[in-house]
């Protein structure tokens, strides 16, 4: 082939590719529009029933019965719509929607789909099983935490949180620290849905090699006030090599700490500590609400870091009478700002 032929051929190929892409763009839009219209048309006859069930206005079960009778493509479209609704409603309406999905056989299909070759089907299956609180899916969902596709793993974690069985807490925490991890946020939310039975798993996870796992465990320990984690949290505040973990630990201690934690937190307000950690510890001292923190906080009012000084003043105001006395009539930007902000909040609370 000569250079000239090549030069003639190449623009022709490029032009053909451009036209092909235009067709793809138009085709994509047409296909999407038709799909949306078709789905809307299939669901339309059941719209009133769907609204009644999801609004909890189906006392006699007549709307559920009509929804359960749906068949063929209408049933599939309806199942999709009900799954979306399930993510938005709670209580009896959610139970009723799950009941209809059961009647349609959607739950059994979802159990099978957990091992489907399509990742979208696997993820959707996990989502549905979680939304319907299917306890027998626990093993399959726990296995899906190691799925090669990220969205399946995330859906599985979310589903396990909705089912809320603490037996899989350790699997969830382990999955955060793997090379194909589940998102830390999804893991934390899932763990928070599992109740008090996860304390041992949390305590163990605070020893994990992955800083992300330790962060999740510390966060959930604090949010859920898992006091069995406290000794390890104190160690991590001092020794953890990761600053994010230490800051999260300080926040956690603010929620579940005791009087003896004042000293632990106070140590980390010293000048040689990283500024973000110092600030987190001062805020934590205020939230902890222990009066014994007052002298230390008062000493920090003159700190060279004006943010820290203001946080100390704010924290003192959180400690009640002892804190207010320690703040006394101290003047200066930190104390004055904290007082003004507290007054504004009080005035607002008084008027509302």
């Amino acid at each position: 082939m000569t250079a000239r032929t090549l030069l003639f051929l190449t623009p022709t190929v490029v032009l053909a590719a451009c036209l092909g892409l235009v067709l793809v763009i138009v085709g994509t839009k047409v296909a999407r529009t038709r799909r949306e219209r078709r789905t809307a048309a299939l669901v339309a006859p059941y719209r009133i029933d769907l609204l009644a069930v999801s609004a909890g206005e189906d006392d006699d079960g007549s709307h559920r019965a009509r929804l359960a009778q749906a068949d063929g493509p209408g049933r599939d479209a309806l199942d999709e719509a009900m799954t979306t609704l399930l993510g938005k409603v709670r209580g009896t309406p959610a139970d009723h929607l799950a009941e209809v999905l059961h009647a349609h056989g959607a739950i059994d299909r979802a159990m099978d789909d957990l091992e489907h070759r399509s990742s979208v089907r696997r993820a959707r299956a996990a989502q549905l099983l979680g939304l319907c609180h299917i306890h027998r899916a626990l093993t399959g969902l726990a296995a899906a935490l190691g799925d090669p596709t990220p969205e399946v793993r995330a859906s599985a974690a979310h589903a396990l949180g909705l089912i809320g069985n603490p037996a899989v807490a350790r699997r969830v925490l382990d999955a955060v620290g793997t090379s194909h991890p589940i998102p830390a946020g999804a893991a934390a939310d899932a763990l928070e849905g599992m109740g008090t039975g996860i304390s041992e798993a949390l305590r163990d996870a605070l020893h994990d090699a992955s800083p992300t796992v330790r962060t999740v465990a510390a966060q959930v320990s604090g949010e859920g006030a898992f006091t069995r984690s406290t000794p390890r949290l104190r160690e991590l505040l001092t020794h953890d090599p990761d600053l994010t973990v230490r800051e999260t630990v300080a926040e956690a201690l603010a929620h579940l700490g005791r009087a003896e934690d004042v000293e632990v937190l106070a140590r980390h307000t010293a000048g040689e500590q990283p500024t973000p950690l110092r600030r987190a510890c001062v805020t934590a001292l205020g939230e902890l609400g222990e009066p014994s923190a007052a002298p230390l906080l008062a000493a920090l009012l003159d700190d060279a870091d004006p943010r820290l000084a203001e946080q100390a003043a704010t924290a003192l105001l959180c400690l009640g009478t002892v804190g207010r006395e320690a703040l006394g009539d101290r003047q200066g930007p930190a104390a004055d700002t904290a007082r003004i902000l507290a007054q504004l909040r009080t005035a607002q609370a008084g008027t509302s």
Binding site: T28, P150, P183, A184, T212, Q219, L243, I340
Partner: protein, 482 residues
């Protein structure tokens, strides 16, 4: 020398130049278009993940690990839109966020509008100097209601970067988002753009969100209610350009783990990391680019495990220039910023210790972003000259031009196909048609003008001329009652 002698001489020079450059230019040309297509393929993979995620996952945002965000809003003479902007930012869906406005010495009553709208009262707060700010702080204000999380700081005029740095000092949340006062964020934008931080809290240090042109769209109370194509062709072409270069290009770089540019109009960072690297450089023209490179360098020098992410779905809408005068100023500034930053960080170039940033992204930016207008100008000059002098035959030249611009259109259409498949933000068939036409028109005049403007910016920097920021004349959003 006779006229024909001069022409012969010129012909010889043109021939020599063409002989010398034809093969390198063809190679360059093939590689640059292949790299664009590669970035689009990478971005498409990312879009596919995002698409699947939306298809298959219950969206659970704002959970336990969602970090607080401070929105940093530098404002200079923004009286017309500042109140609507701040109200829109305060009403974003997010569990914990504050808005920090720094009035950078405005003379148009920007602060008065804010004081009136939010009933501001002065507080004697001293702001930390976590990053150095030279300008004097005038005063600090908060709303009287004691609960609206707004902080307004007034300072002497010293430029946008210093205003952002001061806002950074005033910020109290672990993440900071730099937002232009005239940008419009979608209600879920913060929830989505912070998702990488929630998913990977110990590694992600920065994330960028997509920016799209707002011109022509309908805006009500600071919210986009319907997305439309702009009325002017200049802005329409920029819609296509933003789609290809910003949305798909940056998603592709993010996917390959070498994202080095997050737009200053919508970027979110870990506050401690920005403080650690010293905040924005007030002397830099490309301050957003410079900041991200400085973060990369710092992280790599310390051997830290970190990530910089790009999230294509949360959208910040911004007004793009609708006149050639403003567009020229913008493109000159962008290219000047690119050159000055690349030059300042030349020490990272091809250094294995900087990983893909040093070995792939920076060389790419040098060769295909910085030098691209120079080579394009060479083509724009040499091809007509060669035709005029009869050095090349007309069909040959036309075929070559068809190939050059055909490939450019192919790249743009690929980006459009990815957009239509994934986000399809423009609903109307008319808008799709206009986008298709704009992808062709971009190559007729617009592209050549931007080449020239970019070179002007580069040349001004090389000559040591002081950068004048110019004024972005905003026509405002089309606010209509619903």
């Amino acid at each position: 020398m006779s006229w024909s002698g001069a022409v012969d001489g010129l012909r010889a020079v043109v021939l020599w130049l063409m002989d010398l450059t034809s093969v390198p230019i063809l190679v360059y040309f093939a590689v640059i278009n292949a790299s664009y297509l590669l970035l689009i393929v990478l971005a498409s993979l990312d879009f596919r993940t995002e698409h699947r995620r939306r298809e298959s996952e219950v969206e659970a945002f704002g959970g336990a690990l969602t970090p607080g965000v401070s929105l940093l809003v530098p404002a200079h003479n923004e009286a017309a839109g500042i109140v609507a902007s701040v109200q829109a930012l305060l009403s974003l869906r997010y569990p914990r966020h504050e808005v920090v406005v720094v009035d950078d010495g405005s003379s148009d009553g920007t602060f008065d509008r804010l004081r009136e709208a939010f009933d501001l009262v002065e507080v004697p707060r001293r702001l930390p100097q976590d990053v150095p700010v030279r300008a004097r702080v005038v005063d600090v204000h908060v709303p009287r209601d004691g609960r609206t999380r707004l902080l307004v700081v007034r300072k002497e005029n010293s430029g946008r970067s210093e205003a952002v740095n001061l806002a950074l000092n005033a910020a109290t949340e672990p993440l900071v988002a730099m937002i232009d006062a005239d940008s419009i964020l979608e209600p879920d934008a913060l929830l989505r753009v912070t998702q990488p931080f929630t998913d990977d809290p110990t590694r992600v240090v920065a994330a960028g969100g997509a920016i799209r042109p707002v011109n022509g769209s309908r805006v009500v109370s600071g919210r986009i209610v319907s997305v439309r194509m702009p009325r002017q062709w200049l802005a329409r072409i920029q819609v296509v350009e933003y789609l290809r270069a910003f949305l798909l290009g940056r998603t592709g770089w993010s996917r390959s783990g070498a994202l080095i540019l997050i737009s200053g109009a919508f970027g979110i960072f870990r506050r401690d990391v920005v403080v650690e690297v010293g905040g924005l450089d007030p002397t830099s023209i490309g301050e957003d680019f410079e900041l991200v490179l400085r973060i990369h360098r710092c992280m790599r020098d310390q051997g830290r495990d970190y990530r910089v992410a790009f999230v294509p779905e949360p959208v910040s809408w911004t007004e793009v220039p609708s006149t050639t005068r403003v567009l020229r100023s913008q493109r000159r500034r962008w290219h000047r910023g690119l050159w000055e930053t690349l030059w300042a960080y030349r020490g990272m170039l091809l250094r294995p210790r900087y990983g893909r940033v040093g070995l792939v992204a920076l060389p790419y930016y040098w060769v295909f972003e910085l030098f691209a207008p120079l080579l394009e100008l060479f083509g724009i000059v040499i091809v007509p000259l060669a035709l005029l002098l009869g050095v090349v035959d007309i069909p040959y030249a036309l075929l070559f031009l068809a190939l050059a611009y055909g490939l450019a259109i192919l790249v743009t259409l690929s980006a459009m196909a990815a957009e239509e498949w994934s986000f399809h933000r423009h609903d109307r068939w008319r808008d799709l048609g206009l986008t298709l036409v704009a992808s062709v028109l971009e190559n007729i005049g617009y592209r050549q003008l931007t080449v020239w403007w970019r070179l002007e910016g580069w040349w001004a920097s090389l000559r040591g001329r002081k950068q004048v920021w110019g004024v972005m004349t905003r026509t405002g959003f089309e606010e209509r009652a619903p």
